[in-house]
């Protein structure tokens, strides 16, 4: 009798333990499975095109890549999604960008970040439009990209050159950077669509301000000794009546080399670059200016800005190219998440439709402006930022008055 009671008691304890262990595990397992289902039902891939390993704008390309990677990680965590980021280098070369776009189209990517350069979008836009693939750029600013009708699936989270060019020209005129009226302003393009577009916008405004504009060109793709011949000849055209040289170039390295050439020749003109030259650590000629469409978020104290700054701190100095790319990536990530929330599987078509309806308030954007698109893919809000380069290569944002 006693043995049976002990045996029954032992069995009872074992049964109780089993229920506790396996029952608990089951519910945890169920919970885990349930959780896994939430995360894994929203799986997709996107890809970034940027000049991060070849070409004249590697610092910009790497910056864009790092900020895009951060945006994917942060959005996946916030939205509970499982979206992966592929990457393709373009070197800022249109033909390479088209090859990269074709490989992205052949993959399962439902959206693309980039391309970086306007000349690349001109080449890639019609190709991705045929595939119904949305592309969101944080840096391609040529106005015609959204007005010529050839790139219906292209979006940008930055204002176009019709904003940057006039703002820069107005700043030069308002602050007397070009010297007395009648002086000469040298403006040089690098024979790319972006640069030529800005020159076309700025030249009449500077002339209307009472200045003589000397427009020169050089091949921005030149390297080594040939590049130096180009820059040396440009520098020799800077005379005593030239107080400023406007350089809307895509290469910060070339801008730096030009600045050094001017210094070597004893020329004192101010260099005024646009967003393509904006690269702390690369273009660091003191007294120069460089405009951009992205702010310096290291100086603001919002939680979002701080999280971004912390996330990219390990990569060293960066310019304002990263923030718009972060924003572009977040637009794509949020669009995919919204498709999933509606119960659908992300496809290129429904992600494109969701991107068109993007509505991010200014308080949730590190750009400080609401992110909404017009029907042509342009950003509704218009903002621009200007930086002066101080001694030691420090970029100081000039407040917008």
């Amino acid at each position: 009798m006693k043995v049976r009671r002990i045996f029954a008691g032992t069995l009872g304890v074992m049964a109780l333990a089993s229920v506790t262990v396996f029952g608990g595990t089951s519910s945890a397992h169920v919970a885990k499975v349930a959780g896994a289902k939430i995360a894994s039902t929203c799986s997709a891939s996107i890809a970034i095109e940027a000049p991060f390993s070849t070409g004249p704008a590697i610092p910009l390309g790497l910056e864009q890549l790092h900020f895009a990677e951060l945006a994917v990680a942060q959005a996946n965590k916030a939205n509970g999604t499982n979206i992966t980021l592929g990457q393709d280098n373009t070197g800022l070369v249109p033909a390479t960008a088209v090859s990269a776009a074709r490989s992205i189209i052949a993959s399962s990517a439902v959206a693309m970040i980039g391309p970086a350069g306007s000349q690349e979008v001109e080449a890639v836009g019609p190709v991705i439009a045929k595939a119904g693939l949305a592309a969101i750029s944080g840096s391609a600013t040529l106005p015609a990209l959204t007005t010529d009708g050839k790139n219906p699936t292209f979006f940008r989270v930055v204002p176009d050159d019709d904003v940057q060019g006039p703002r820069d020209a107005a700043y030069i005129l308002a602050h007397g950077l070009a010297g007395a009226k009648g002086s000469t302003i040298l403006i040089v393009d690098d024979e790319e669509a972006y640069s030529e577009g800005l020159v076309a916008v700025m030249t009449p405004l500077l002339k209307a301000g009472g200045y003589t504009v000397n427009h020169q060109s050089y091949n921005g793709a030149d390297t080594g000794a040939t590049l130096q011949s180009d820059l040396s000849s440009l520098a020799s055209k800077v005379t005593s009546s030239t107080h400023i040289v406007v350089i809307p170039w895509q290469s910060a390295g070339n801008a730096q080399q030009f600045g050094k050439t001017l210094e070597q020749q004893g020329k004192k003109a101010i260099l005024f670059g646009t967003d393509g030259t904006n690269a702390p650590g690369t273009f660091i000629i003191p007294g120069s200016y460089s405009s951009n469409f992205g702010p310096d978020i290291s100086q603001t104290k919002t939680a979002l800005d701080e999280s971004i700054v912390k996330g990219v701190a390990k990569y060293g100095p960066y310019g304002p190219f990263g923030v718009p790319t972060w924003q572009a990536t977040t637009v794509a990530m949020d669009a995919i998440a919204s498709v999933c929330k509606s119960g659908a599987t992300p496809t290129r078509a429904n992600v494109l439709a969701a991107i068109k309806k993007t509505d991010i308030p200014a308080s949730q954007s590190p750009e400080g402006v609401p992110i909404q698109f017009k029907a042509d893919g342009d950003l509704k809000a218009q903002a621009g930022f200007l930086f002066k380069i101080e001694a030691g290569g420090k970029y100081v944002e000039i407040p917008d008055k």
């Binding site: 610092p59 040939t226 180009d230 040396s232 000849s233 020799s236 050094k260 210094e263 070597q264």
Partner: protein
């Protein structure tokens, strides 16, 4: 007048660099009848070697040795290193093809060019490196002529190039090795029959040509600042043009050809437009091929009857 002098200085600097690279082209063509299209990339490798030597000694802003010594070491190490690399390329890529049809080593040379470019890209990335020479060889040390600043680095480039070119001329004309080189260039088989070590002569020719390209790479970094893995391609093409214009196989021709091309590029950039400088340089190549295919200093090929 200022623009003229500035353009002249710039053209001489660039021309000297093209001349140094062109000499390598012409020497190798002389002994092997091979157009070594990888030669421009040896110049690029030299630039990178010089850059990392500079960094090793604390440059650009915290040098641990005097700047003149640094420059000498950069040139010496780059010259020896790239010279050795050139010898290695000859030994393993070109020597096995010495009796193959001429197209084979030509294509191999193109392949070596891509290998060198992509190796540097993989090892060091595509990010431009800046010699920042003005940090240790400041602009304040410039000579001023009629309002034009001539930087000490520009003087160094021209002076070193002239010394190297004349040194090479003396080596070729007055030394036993020079005689061997000329003999091999004239008739390889006969030279071998006369007891000349053809393999060693060719290897040393490659060493000298590559070393000169390596030193030119260092000087380009000092003078121009930025270097990337793609600076060798266009420089190599221009140097090839210089060698052809001067007379492929002719050492004085390569020197003069390099200076002509450099000055042509510089003056057309300044007085016409930099958009047309490449057009003009390569038009000169075509004109030379049409009007005087053997080049200015070259000899027309003998016709045996």
């Amino acid at each position: 007048m200022q623009i003229f002098i500035q353009t002249l200085v710039s053209g001489l600097v660039v021309g000297c660099l093209y001349a140094l690279i062109a000499l390598g082209y012409t020497m190798v063509y002389g002994v092997l009848k091979l157009l070594n299209f990888a030669h421009g990339d040896l110049y690029m490798v030299g630039a990178f070697v010089g850059y990392y030597v500079m960094r090793w000694f604390g440059g650009p802003s915290a040098l641990v040795i005097p700047a003149p010594l640094l420059v000498v070491l950069m040139m010496l190490i780059a010259g020896l290193g790239v010279g050795a690399l050139g010898m290695g390329i000859e030994r393993f890529a070109y020597r096995p093809l010495r009796n193959a049809p001429r197209i084979a080593p030509l294509i191999t040379a193109l392949g070596i060019s891509f290998i060198l470019e992509d190796s540097v890209l993989l090892l060091f990335g595509g990010y431009p490196r800046d010699y920042s020479a003005s940090d240790y060889l400041p602009f304040s040390g410039s000579i001023h002529i009629d309002g034009v600043n001539i930087w000490s680095v520009q003087i160094i480039v021209v002076a070193v190039s002239v010394v190297m070119m004349f040194g090479l001329r003396e080596l070729v004309n007055r030394t036993l090795f020079g005689k061997s080189m000329r003999a091999v260039a004239s008739d390889r088989e006969a030279a071998e029959m006369l007891g000349i070590n053809v393999n060693r002569t060719i290897a040393l020719t490659f060493f000298i040509g590559s070393a000169m390209a390596g030193v030119a790479g260092v000087m380009s970094g000092l003078a121009f600042g930025q270097i990337t893995n793609v600076i060798g391609f266009l420089a190599g093409l221009k140097a090839f043009t210089a060698a052809v214009v001067g007379g492929i196989g002719s050492i004085p021709g390569a020197m003069i050809g390099g200076l002509v091309i450099g000055l042509c590029e510089s003056f057309s950039s300044s007085y016409i437009s930099s958009q047309y400088s490449d057009l003009i340089v390569f038009a000169l190549l075509i004109a030379t091929m049409l009007l005087r295919p053997q080049g200015v200093f070259g000899r027309p090929p003998l016709q045996k009857v």
